[in-house]
Symmetry: C2
Subunit: 386 residues, 2 copies
């Protein structure tokens, strides 16, 4: 059976990137590696739409989140967390672990945080020093309005920290134009690399806040001290031994994004997402995120009476298709079909086909062929900006 | 030219391990991956000589060090740091960054910290809560007496934290028998993997101290919270998205260690180190660490009048041999030839040969062939335990 990975991370990795990982290991304190790191960071800046330093950290995405947050909070710092799902909750959990005071903005799962909510919160909490948000909330399939939220934070004293881990390289994310002070992503999503690297861009306002925070007592980070990454970046170097094979491999995946151009990359994902959403109707499934869906994945509600774990396990065992279930409170209620990175429409089509086969066999009413047909029609008729 | 990497990390990676890295990426929350993680941790326990959990963290070695330390310190905690070089200094720097009070035990670079020094320090500072040490001090080529130091810490209130990053899998390190509460290593040394993973074993005394420390105020870590790693390990899982391709590849490198047996692995490194040290006489070079040399690398003093950077660059450009120079205050004074992991005697011989060619050409007096001859004789006549 041919395995196909359509989970919201890790995602499939292009062959030339995988082959680079099999090349002999080289020394990281060398002119050769410095040239590579310099080129990688320059390419990352294009993906981030930023002119600011992009720190390359050897860790999971959560390490990048901790790096962004712990450099600007101390016990008692007030943080406004925009929470539209599990990953929004993670900002809250990190903040609380370090003793920050959290103001929670919430919405029903499946919906997005509105700029109006943040307007009110900033009014109620003028002493807030940080606002966190999530670009693509993969736990629910929702896209948050980072541009709208950033416009509100920009003129306040707060820094704006965004988890773009599964959104960057998928959908529009203009870090500088949208006033994102700390933009965090990970390697194993749209950057088309195995897990192991996190990337954090930091604005001048962000670095200023880091310096101010350091006057308030001992650091909350050594390994995640972003000033070290910035300073080393000036010499195309890293403060600690980096996962240099991953960085070398990243060149190849970034070359794909660069050749395509970010606008086209975003459109490609939008088009796949439109096809996946259209499939829902054909499959007689409800979409969980109806209003502001992310383009990185599509979340279907599990029909009444069907067991999500059986759907997932049959998809994998019978058809080699690996999609994801719900997490925590969403477990059993949704299934999540990711289409980000090195995944194309035909793999989405394969997943829709397999879903149709499995769901039908489990007794769910589907007109045979309706899912793939709907996806095909939506893909064929898709127009940018429509 | 054929490149040969004889630096103290990253080290060469076996071919079967590299090829695993080129395999398609798979999902990490699966029974298949859990089985692999469980097997990897069991094998790591053999390498660590421990029955305790070995936490698998996606980070550099320094991330592992921070994990060990920040779980048991808070501002004001007294830490005794055994400092015999740059990596001993790192424990001090992390401790100070987090506001701990550091008692420094030092010795001239090239020597080891003695148990007598620690006896006195523990007497003078009965309120010390942590003792840090370094098994293999790669900045100077010294091996510290972890067994002797551990025996002193064991009956005190302090926990014993050891940086075994470039020592574990090279030389004897009996984590449990030697009373090491937190033993830290990294992937890119003797574990024969690219950089990107850190491993931390934690004793029951260590976990008890983590719990006590948490009663003293907010955590100093979220990503590095070792309780999370321990709890997830019970289900062969990780708290955050792991660098799962590295973990899958690690199986193959660990299989080599397991097949050989740890005693034999330690002996193999001792034998290579004996050969490298013997070469010094033939090369008319002084050893920097004369009394307690590590078996992971051999450090030569740079002869008066010769430029270390020229030696290193000629070794690489003319012969493809990459060894390391001195760091920080040792820069220009030493060169460091590593022999750990997937390196054998014949590569050490190649490095000795290239050193002889370059040094002779730079005007250093060497009897032609004396270096390789001395190495060969020492290797041939080596006996375990001699």
């Amino acid at each position: 059976m041919k395995p196909r990975l359509l989970c919201p991370g890790p995602t499939p990795v292009p062959e030339e990137t995988l082959l680079e990982l099999a090349m002999p290991v080289t020394f990281h304190r060398s002119s050769q590696f410095r040239a590579i790191l310099g080129a990688v960071v320059a390419d990352l800046q294009e993906v981030f739409c930023t002119k600011n330093p992009v720190c390359v950290i050897t860790s999971s995405g959560t390490g990048g989140m901790e790096a962004a947050l712990t450099n600007v909070i101390r016990p008692g710092t007030k943080v406004i967390c925009c929470i539209s799902g599990r990953w929004g909750e993670r900002w809250k959990n990190i903040s609380k672990a370090f003793g920050a005071v959290v103001v929670e903005l919430t919405c029903p799962y499946g919906e997005a945080i509105t700029p109006a909510q943040l307007t009110q919160a900033l009014k109620d909490h003028p002493d807030a020093k940080v606002v966190t948000a999530t670009l693509s909330e993969t736990s629910t399939g929702v896209r948050n309005d980072i541009q709208g939220l950033g416009a509100l934070v920009k003129d306040t004293d707060a820094v704006f920290i965004v988890d773009a881990i599964s959104g960057l390289g998928v959908m529009e994310c203009r870090t500088d134009d949208w006033h994102v002070d700390f933009c965090v992503t990970g390697s194993q999503k749209a950057l088309m690399l195995p897990a192991g690297l996190a990337f954090v861009s930091v604005s001048p306002k962000g670095f200023k806040r880091i310096d101010e925070t350091l006057t308030q007592g001992p650091a909350a980070s050594f390994y995640f001290d972003l000033r070290k990454y910035r300073d080393n970046l000036k010499g195309n170097d890293t403060p600690f031994t980096p996962a240099n094979t991953l960085i070398k491999a990243l060149r190849h995946s970034l070359a794909r994004l660069k050749a395509e151009g970010m606008e086209k990359v975003w459109q490609r994902h939008e088009r796949m997402a439109a096809a996946a959403r259209a499939a829902a109707t054909g499959l007689n499934l409800k979409l969980f995120a109806r209003v502001n869906p992310t383009s990185g994945l599509t979340v279907f509600e599990v029909p009444e009476g069907l067991d999500a774990s059986v759907i997932l396990s049959r998809l994998e065992k019978e058809h080699g298709i690996r999609i994801a279930g719900g997490q925590d409170t969403m477990k059993g209620k949704i299934v999540r079909l990711a289409h980000m990175g090195y995944i194309d429409f035909f793999e989405v089509l394969a997943a829709v086909s397999a879903l149709e086969l499995v769901l039908s066999d489990m007794g769910h009413k589907i007109e045979s062929g309706a899912g793939v047909s709907a996806a095909q029609r939506a893909f064929a008729s898709w127009k940018p900006g429509a």
